[in-house]
C-alpha cells in the first residue's frame, strides 16, 4: 500500500521523462538518388562497312532539379543528315548525386528496356535496331538509319525507358513496340526530342 500511495509520483516521473525524450530530429538534406537529370543521345556516323566516320553529335535533355514542381526540362533538337546511318548511344546521369545511371541500367539490363516511338518511326524516317553488347534488347546502344527521302525536315522521336517489365512479352523485342505498357512495369523516362533533318 505504501508503494501504491507513491504511484502518482512514479506516474509523474514517467510522464516527465516521456515528454522530455521526445523531440523531432533536425531535418537533413536528402539528395534524390533515383532521379535521372540528364539524358544524352550520342550519334556517331557509320560508313557502309559500319566503321565510325566524323565526330560525335550529342543532344541532351536535362532537368537539373530532377522532379521539381515549377521547372520544365530543356530538350535539345536532334539534328541529323538524311540517308545516313548512325550508332546511337544513350548516356544517363544524375547530376544531383553525380551518379552514372548508365552503368546501373546496364547492370540491371534484365529489368530495363528503351523503346523508341513517335512520328519519326511512324513515317519511316528513322529505322532503329538494338545494338547492345551480347545481342540483348536494352537500347543503350542502337543503330539508326535515316531515310534519304523523308518528305519532311521536321519530326520528333519519343524515348521511353521502362523498368521492371516482362522482356519476354510477345513483341517486346521490337524497339518500336508501341504497346510496351502491356509488358508491365513503369516508365522511368518519357521524353520527346524534336528531330531536324538536313
Amino acid at each position: 500500500m505504501k508503494m501504491l500511495s507513491k504511484l502518482p509520483l512514479y506516474l509523474l516521473t514517467l510522464l516527465t521523462l516521456g515528454f522530455a525524450s521526445c523531440e523531432s530530429n533536425d531535418p537533413s538534406k536528402e539528395n534524390d538518388g533515383e532521379v535521372i537529370t540528364d539524358v544524352t543521345l550520342k550519334f556517331q556516323e557509320l560508313n557502309p562497312s559500319n566503321a565510325p566516320v566524323g565526330s560525335v553529335l550529342s543532344f541532351k535533355a536535362s532537368d537539373p532539379q530532377g522532379i521539381e514542381v515549377g521547372k520544365t526540362p530543356t530538350v535539345q533538337s536532334i539534328s541529323l543528315t538524311k540517308g545516313k546511318k548512325y550508332q546511337m548511344t544513350i548516356e544517363l546521369t544524375n547530376s544531383i548525386e553525380n551518379e552514372d545511371i548508365t552503368k546501373e541500367i546496364l547492370a540491371e539490363a534484365a529489368a530495363h528496356q528503351f523503346f523508341f516511338l513517335g512520328p519519326v518511326f511512324d513515317s519511316n524516317i528513322f529505322s532503329i535496331q538494338y545494338a547492345d553488347a551480347g545481342g540483348i534488347a536494352l537500347g543503350l546502344k542502337n543503330t539508326v538509319t535515316v531515310s534519304s527521302s523523308p518528305g519532311t525536315n521536321n519530326s520528333s522521336m519519343r524515348v521511353v525507358l521502362r523498368h521492371e517489365l516482362n522482356k519476354s512479352f510477345a513483341g517486346a523485342s521490337n524497339p518500336n513496340f508501341s504497346n510496351f505498357v502491356q509488358a508491365g512495369g513503369e516508365s522511368d523516362l518519357d521524353i520527346t526530342f524534336p528531330v531536324i533533318l538536313n
Partner: protein
Amino acid sequence: MLQKGVLFIVCLAWACASLQAQQCTLTLRGKILHLENNEPIEAAYVWLMEPNKGVPSDANGNFIIKDLCPGTITLQIRFIGHKEIKRSITLNASTTNQTFLMEEEAVDLAGVEIHGHQEVAQTTTSVSSLYGEALLQSRGESLGESLKRVAGVTTFSTGNTISKPVIHGLHSNRILILNNGIRLEGQQWGAEHAPEIDPFLADELTVIKGAETVRFGPEAMGGVILVNPPALPTSKKKITEINLIGNSNGESGNLSLAHAGGSGKFSGLGYRIQGATKRAGNLRTPDYIQDNTGMQEMSLTSTLGYSSKKLGAEVYYSYFSTTLGILRDSHTGNLSDLQQIIKNGRPFSEGEFSYTIENPKQEVTHHLTKVKAHYHLHPSWKLNVQYGFQSNRRKEFDRRRGNLNARPSLDLELFTNTAELSLDHQLNSQWTGSAGISLIQQANSNVPGTGVTPLIPNYDMVNAGVYLMEKYMKGPLEVEAGLRYDLRSISAARYLNNQLEESNLEFQNGAAFLGAMYQVSPSLSLSSNLGTAWRPPNVNELFSQGLHHGAAAVELGDKNLIAENSLKWVNSLELDGRKGNLELTGYVNRIQNYIYLNPTGQTFVSLRGTFNVYEYLQANALFYGIDLSGSYGFGQQWEGYFKASLIRAKNSETQAYFPFIPSDRMDVGLSYSFGKQEEGKGKNRITLSSLGVARQSREPEFDLAPAPPAYTLVNLGYSRKVEIGKNQFTAGLLVTNLLDTEFKEYMNRFRYFTADMGRNLQLKFNYQF
C-alpha cells in the same frame, strides 16, 4: 363556520397528502453484483416496467429509485455480457432493499447483430458495437473490414489489404481510433495508411457516430472507434481463447491466442496476454491473380491490472507490426502509364500465387504503452490519471534501381505522448460529469537515407485541452452537455531545394455538445446529439510539395490553410422488442473550411513524363445521411436482418460532389438455426446474405475513371457451436462472394487498376476454456 371550513380543507389536504404518502413514497434500493465474484457492477441499467422509471447503477453497484407506489412491479436489470434479470417485486414496506446477482453469459447473439448500448461510452449520441457472435464472425479481418458490419461504416481502401474505416463519409484524420482508451497516433493522413491496430485485441469494437471532440480531443469530427480489450478478471480464474482461421483466397492463415487470469493470492490483481499472427499470399480476383498483394502481420498485447475498493491501476502494452505488399502494376511511372492501365481495367502483368512480398511494399511497426490509475477520493468523486507513449515507424518501399530497392523511399518515425487527468463525479444519482485536462505531444522525424525528398517535414506538435461535461438523468430522460478548449502548436522544418524552411503554426478552438436521450418505453429510446468539432490542417495538407510516388500525381500543400470546423447533429431511434430490433440514425454534418485535394487540371512535365497536379483547397461542405438496421425473428429458428446506409456529401459553395464518398448500400440476410445447445450437442446455424451496392452516381467533376457499376455479392455461412463441459467450441465455414462475381468498389482506390477479390472460402475455429 369558517373555522370548520378551514379545518375541513386542512383535513382534506392532510388526507390527500397521507393518501399520497401511502401510495407513492416508497423507495427501492438495491445493489448489483457479479454472481461470480461479488464485485459491484457499474452502469447496469435498472428499469421498472410499470412506472416507466429507470436508473443506472453507480460505481459501487448501488441504485435508488424513489417515489414508488405500493403494489407489484416488474423489475428488469440489463448489463452487457450478462443474463438479464426480470423479477416481480411486491413493494409494501417503506423501504425495499435487495441485492441482485448477475450471471455472466456466454454471449449468444443471433447472426450479425449490432447492438447499441450506452454503457461502453456514456454518451447520448448514436453508438453501435460489435461483440459476441458478430465479432467472432469478423475475426481475421482488419479493423476497417470488421467495422463494415456496422450500418453507416464503410471503408476507404487501397487494394484488399489496406482499409481505413469511414464513418458517415469521413475517414483518416477526421475520425479517431482509441486503442484501449489511448488515441491511436500513427501516420493516419495517408489514404494508403491503414490503422496500426489488430482488432484481435478487442472483445468489443464500438463506433460512436457523433462528433465527440469534447470527450476525446480534436479530429473526432466524423466519429470515434473504440477498440477495447476485455476487462481483467479480478478473482481467481483462468480464461483461454484460441482462434484459428484459414482463407482460400490468398491461402492465408491467422492464429490468435489469449489468456487471462486473476490472482488468488492478491485479490483484485489480474492479467491478460494476447497475441496474433497472420500471413497471406497474393489475392485472386475471379479472373486473375493480383501480383504482390500478400501480407504479414504480428500483434501482441499484455495487460496487468489491480483493482480494489478505492484504487484501480492498469499497465498496458500493445505491439503491432505489418508488411503489406502493394499491387505491382498500381505503381505507375507517369500519367500515360496511369491512363494506359486505367484503360486496360486490369493489371498488365499476369500474377502468380506467391507469399513473397516485393517492392512496392509497406513496413509498419507500432508500439503503445499505457499506464492508467483511478482513485475514489469519495464515494461520489473519482480521480483518473492516464499516460500513454506511442512509437510508430513507417517505411514505404518503391520499385527502384539496384541497391536503392533495399532503402525505403519514405521512412518516418513518430513519437507521441498523451497524458490525461480527469475528475469524475456522480452526485445523488442524477448528476454525473467529468472535468479534465489532456495533453498531446508529438514528434515526427524523417529518417535520413531514403534518397528521396521527404513528402512531409519533420515537426513537433503540442496540443493542450481542457474540458468539462455534465449529464443529468431523471427517470427515462438523460441530458448532457460539454465544453472543451484546445490549443495546438506545430513547428515544422525541412529542406526544400537545399534551403532550410521552417514554419511555426498555432491553432486554437473551442468545441461543445448538447445531447439528450429519452427512454419512451423499455423497448423504445430516442436520442439526439448536437456537437461541434474541429480539426487543424494536417502536416501533409500544409506542406506536401512534390511527387506522390506511384500515384503519378504532384500534390501541393498550402501553409495558409485554416482549421476545419464542423457541426454534426445525430438523431437516432432504437426499438428493441422481443422478436426484433430496429435502429434508425439520421445525421447532418456541416463542415466549414473542409480541406480536400483538388485536381488543378494542370499537368507537370518532367523527363519522367507528365503528372497531374493536385492542390489542397478549402470549402464549406455538407454531409448528411441515414443508417438503418434491424433484425426480426420468425419463430424459433428463422431470423432475418438488414442494414442500409445512405450518404450525401456536397461542396456547398460550388454544389460539386466530393470524391470517395460511399455509394448507397444495403445488406440483407436470413439465418436458420437448428439443433439443441446442450452438453456435447451442437447448435447449428446457416446464414445466407446478400450485399447490394449502388453505383456512385454523384461523382466529382474530375476523376481518373468513372465510378464502377453497381454490384451484388452473395455470401453463405455455416456455424456450429458445441459446449464441451464448461468450454465452448465454435466452428464456422463462410463463403464470401459465393458466385465469384467480378466487381469494383468505388471506395477502393485500386478500382482504377484491378477488380476486387473473388470467391473466398473461410474456415474458422474458436475454442474458449
